[in-house]
Symmetry: C2
């Protein structure tokens, strides 16, 4: 059974942080925050992701939390979100 | 019943981000990552925290996820962690 899985990380090294986000995307997860991804994974895929990320981090300073969420927990999630104003986005895309 | 609750956030404004982390501490949560806190909260306290954080963020750009975790989910959490070497810490505390 696939469960929504959160991956949240603190990684100092830019290159490694970049690799972590690429691997999350490879596993079909979507970026939900600057340093957080979310998506459905089976227990096997979650285990695989854990091993892959462990290898990428290696002995570098960092922390990654891989957190599966049951349906009830997902339902009880609360989100506060204010998108960037489109003016700001236009500014950044210049 | 109190559940371990994750609070993860992306806040651009330094002052507001600081306020969010202070409020998390006021609610007895502990910092687990640069922009993530965790700790036990009852449903009422979680609701209170949600309202308080919503007010602090106001109309500023940002996203906060408040995620309660059942015991089973907590048990299935996987963490990769490499602490900063003590040398590095000594360097930062100079």
């Amino acid at each position: 059974m696939e469960l929504i899985t959160l991956v949240i990380y603190d990684i100092e090294d830019d290159r490694i942080r970049q690799r972590v986000s690429e691997i999350c995307k490879d596993y079909g997860l979507e970026r939900i925050q600057y340093s957080a991804f979310s998506g459905k994974l089976s227990r096997n895929r979650r285990e695989e992701l854990f091993l892959k990320l462990s290898k990428v981090v290696g002995r570098q300073t960092g922390k990654i939390i891989i957190q599966p969420l049951c349906e009830k927990d997902v339902k009880d999630q609360k989100v506060i979100v204010n998108e960037k104003k489109s003016d700001d986005l236009a500014e950044e895309n210049k």
